[in-house]
Symmetry: C2
Subunit: 277 residues, 2 copies
């Protein structure tokens, strides 16, 4: 490896390093987990989600931009390399449907589907207004020490529903509102937004003020903003809101919204999470 390449790699943003995929054939890639995004077991799910999206975005046959993305976490990724495939299974005049798979040692670790489409100007309106909240600069950084590495990659300023200070079983609701963005400056893009959709800590920790083992099993992101709109936001803050609707039989759901600081709904997202209780 030449010195010039090394410098370029070292200067790359940790998120870009983590979602990088090297194509070995059309729609076939290899990637590797990044220690910078290590979670309790395997990497932060938001980054794996972004990797699945990146496999679509890098495909030479791509039509348009993502509208819907669903990822299924089939198993925890082991630290190290993984394979990824993205296949456009149906291309229409203005929409395209994708099937994506991530694998390690011959075993599927993630399945995903995506729908991309040409964005065009239409009538539009936001029906979920951004809640009235203090500006990011009026909210302090939390003073707890991250327990896992990936949390250091994000600034998170909690307005409501922060991690419980006392794990005393006294939770009463499951709603969190926070300002968030990557810690190291990086312009917001589609992969970055997909990852932000998974930044929220598990709803059950808030609802029960009890730390139980959890793991997301499926997540969907609907993109209401395209890459051009995101680029205008630069390294801007994103307001995230998340809450659960039901905890039942070892699984709870999470419904989430992501707004720009200017109040535009950039994406909404849903996930279902395994819990042990």
């Amino acid at each position: 490896m030449r010195f010039g390449t090394l410098v370029a790699m070292n200067m790359q943003h940790p998120f870009d390093q983590a979602v990088a995929l090297a194509p070995t054939a059309e729609g076939v890639y290899t990637g590797a987990t990044s220690p910078a995004f290590a979670n309790m077991v395997g990497p932060f799910g938001g980054v794996t989600t972004a990797v699945a999206l990146n496999a679509v975005l890098q495909h030479p046959a791509l039509l348009g931009e993502p509208v819907a993305l669903t990822v299924n976490f089939c198993a925890a990724l082991a630290d190290g390399t993984f394979g990824a495939t993205a296949k456009p299974v149906r291309t229409n005049r203005s929409t395209q449907h994708w099937v994506v798979e991530l694998s390690q040692a011959g075993e599927v670790v993630m399945t995903a589907t995506a729908m991309t489409a040409a964005r065009r100007e239409t009538w539009g309106v936001d029906d979920e207004p951004m809640p009235a909240v203090p500006t990011p600069h009026a909210v302090p950084d939390p003073n707890h020490t991250p327990q896992v590495e990936w949390v250091r990659r994000y600034q998170m300023r909690f307005i409501e529903g922060a991690l419980p200070a006392d794990w005393d079983g006294g939770g009463v609701h499951s709603q969190t509102r926070l300002w968030m963005r990557e810690s190291a400056p990086r312009p917001l893009d589609l992969c970055g937004l997909a990852a932000l959709a998974d930044v929220f800590f598990p709803r059950i920790w808030l609802r029960r003020a009890t730390r139980v083992p959890v793991g997301t099993v499926s997540m969907t992101v609907y993109f209401h903003a395209g890459s051009a709109q995101l680029a205008e936001l630069g390294h801007g803050w994103v307001l995230g809101q998340a809450r659960a609707q039901a905890f039942r039989n070892g699984f709870f759901d999470q419904t989430a919204q992501l707004w720009s600081e200017g109040g535009h709904l950039l994406a909404n997202s849903h996930q279902v999470v395994y819990y042990k209780a």
Copy 2:
């Protein structure tokens, strides 16, 4: 065909006919669209969703019951037969991940993923209480004539956000609440619940009081109830609530909840819908 078979087929509930799949190999099936569920173009999407789920439920290797189901409508189904495949791509100790595909004439018309799991007793709570609404018996049937055949298969009693009486462009919100169940008595089951998640008419018709061409492109259902709980409800009414969060660049999202008459959240669901405007 013998007379006995004919009688049996005629006696079958139209929904069961519509979602029936004949296996030709493990995880490989053939089915056919049903005129009873005809929509403007192709069949009612809820039935196609139920077909995808049925391909999983009929698989001999099935583990547990559905927790998450995502379907992607890649193209309108043509009237007639279709092929379906369901593959368990990863089986863990208590969860299983599925990839499903529906095709016609060698072209993919639907992709789907599902996660099934053994339901077990745990701590649980509903965080999205059923809204206070009149009982189904206190709400009249609508007096408009269905424009498409599938609508006749469902009783729908609108509490809020019915189809606009005047298509005058005067819509102000996107929320519908209605009591719903199949018109011909049939005990609620997992496939029936998946179909109910798609009964809501397009949110943009309500929001703009304008009838524009639409088509669901992706839908996700999270199941909070299992088959045993559903069986207890029999041919009961289900309260449906749906609203949009954003209409932008030719796509809007819908977020929906489905409660039993007793107030249990049976499922929540999300979809993203193409619109022409």
